[in-house]
Amino acid sequence: MDLVAFFLEPLQYGFLTRALAVTVAAAVVAAVLSCWLILMGFSLMGDAVSHAVLPGVALAYIVGLPFSIGAFVFGAGAVALIGVVRSTTRLKADTVIGVVFTALFASGLAIVSATPSQIDLMHILFGNVLGVSTGEVWQVLVLGALTLAVLLLKRRDLTLLAFDRTHAHVIGINTRRLSALLLGLLALTVVVGLQAVGIILVVAMLVTPGATAFLLTRSFDRMLVMSVSLTVIASVAGIYASYYLDISTGAAVVLCQALVFTVVYLVARPDGLLWQLARRRRSTRGGREGAPARTGSAADAVLSQDA
């Protein structure tokens, strides 16, 4: 089969072009957000919010509202609940997150099991991107564009918040409101992403692209660009893989993200595993005993220059 046909053949199906649009849009928004999430240590929060939206999605289907409204209400509600429990107990954040999101996820399961005929649980959990309607495509595109616009508009403040919260406070920024904004945008991003890959796997889109880009660069702006580019490549590759190999679309997209991460993890300079091993071999051969095997060698070289 020639290359053009390889790429064009799937696109003759409306459901596949819709899937491509939804997946790429969701992946781009999630990839931008992921750059702040991983720097703030909020990865688990992404997991929590995505699981916590299940009762919202189920209730929305029962009542006949757009799924995104129910999902957003419960996603934002979960964030608020975690914040309240955290600030009124001595428990650590990950503990509170664990308690809250499992409780909400379980109530979602209970609701779904009580009304089995109306809701396809598998579609909510693992995504049903091949079955999205044109209306749902628009929901994703509009919410995605909105989220992306706010993220990019506030990107310098968000980076400051992630880097030095105290300084943000000292120069008069309301850090509490800014955190709330970020978590609200996280809830929106989850809503956008769960159409594409489902509740369980949406966290991959919220973490992996940022993590991959972090390994590749020391500049935040470049990290944003790389995170987005890599996630677009992975999403498109995932959709095609899903078509030709006949595997779950959500799984294929997430696997492609993981594949990109793995390649970067192995070969990125200077921190990639292969470079680390090469350096370690070189340094033991050179007899530099006790030289730290960790990744800082570029920094160390720079420091000795300046000293």
Binding site: L39, L153, K154, R155, R156, D157, T159, L160, A162, F163, D164, T166, H167, A168, H169, V170, I171, G172, I173, F214, T217, R218, S219, F220, R222, M223, G296, A298, A299, V302, L303, D306, A307
Partner: protein
């Protein structure tokens, strides 16, 4: 600068009390600091230095007393960009993907518009601040690729860019070699001579007299406040550190 701000003390703390749960971190602390002074805040870990800093920045709610900066409530002082804070080295994520110039630019954010986009004047303010701390050549470098002394100077440059009138420095000499330390002290003295005030939290007893115009010995409450040589007497230090400490005991990193 408004005249009310010029005449008012840089910071005025009256009968301040802060309690965490059942722990009284600060009790009846009263301090006034005149403009253009470097003041060393000396005490052991747990003596309330960090809590006092947090109270000055409005990060803890006092259960007694009042704090004002330049005659203003802390909220107003923050909104007017009057206060800058330099974090402890271990509180900074040195792997964070920001450059030296990025961090210094963050000093300006309080004066910038919604998106915090730098204009030409702002970029030259960043350049000037970098020039003053001697980091102009390293402006593009990621912050983790700096030496201990350079790392500290990035944050001093940030407060210069901010044009803050009161600098709060949290353990600025920890992990810094002697040469960098004396560079920093010279820098702080220049800033003081411009009329800025500097409050330095430290447990470096030996360095305090060389650095500061006055010293405060803190141990939950103020044990002594005045000329460094008068404050750092063996008797006072015994009270603050719980045991006899010779004031010339060098490193002071215990």
């Amino acid at each position: 600068m408004m005249s009310t701000q010029q005449s008012a003390p840089v910071l005025q703390v009256d009968h301040l009390g802060v309690t965490y749960g059942h722990v009284r971190a600060l009790d009846d602390v009263s301090i006034a600091l005149a403009p253009g002074r470097i003041c060393a805040l000396i005490g052991v870990n747990g003596s309330g230095k960090s809590t006092l800093f947090k109270a000055l920045m409005g990060l803890v709610a006092p259960d007694a007393g009042e704090v004002s900066l330049f005659g203003l409530p802390t909220t107003q002082a923050r909104k007017r960009q009057l206060v800058a804070y330099m974090p402890q080295t271990e509180d900074v994520d040195w792997t964070f993907p920001v450059s030296v110039a990025d961090v210094v630019a963050m000093g300006l954010y309080g004066r910038l518009g919604l998106t915090r986009r730098l204009r030409a004047a702002d970029r030259s303010a960043v350049d000037d601040a970098l020039e003053r701390v001697g980091l102009a050549e390293l402006r593009r470098r990621q912050i983790g690729q700096l030496s201990g002394g350079q790392r500290k100077r990035v944050f001093i440059a940030r407060s210069i860019a901010q044009d803050a009138r009161l600098l709060l420095l949290d353990e600025p000499f920890a992990g810094v070699d002697r040469t960098s330390e004396s560079t920093m002290i010279d820098l702080l003295k220049t800033l003081r001579n411009e009329g800025r005030s500097v409050l330095v939290s430290t447990h470096d007893l030996a360095g305090a007299p060389a650095l500061s115009d006055e010293a405060i010995l803190l141990h939950g409450s103020v044990l002594a406040h005045g000329d460094p040589t008068e404050v750092l007497t063996p008797q006072n230090l015994a009270l603050a550190f719980g045991q006899a400490v010779a004031p010339t005991s060098g490193e002071g990193d215990s």
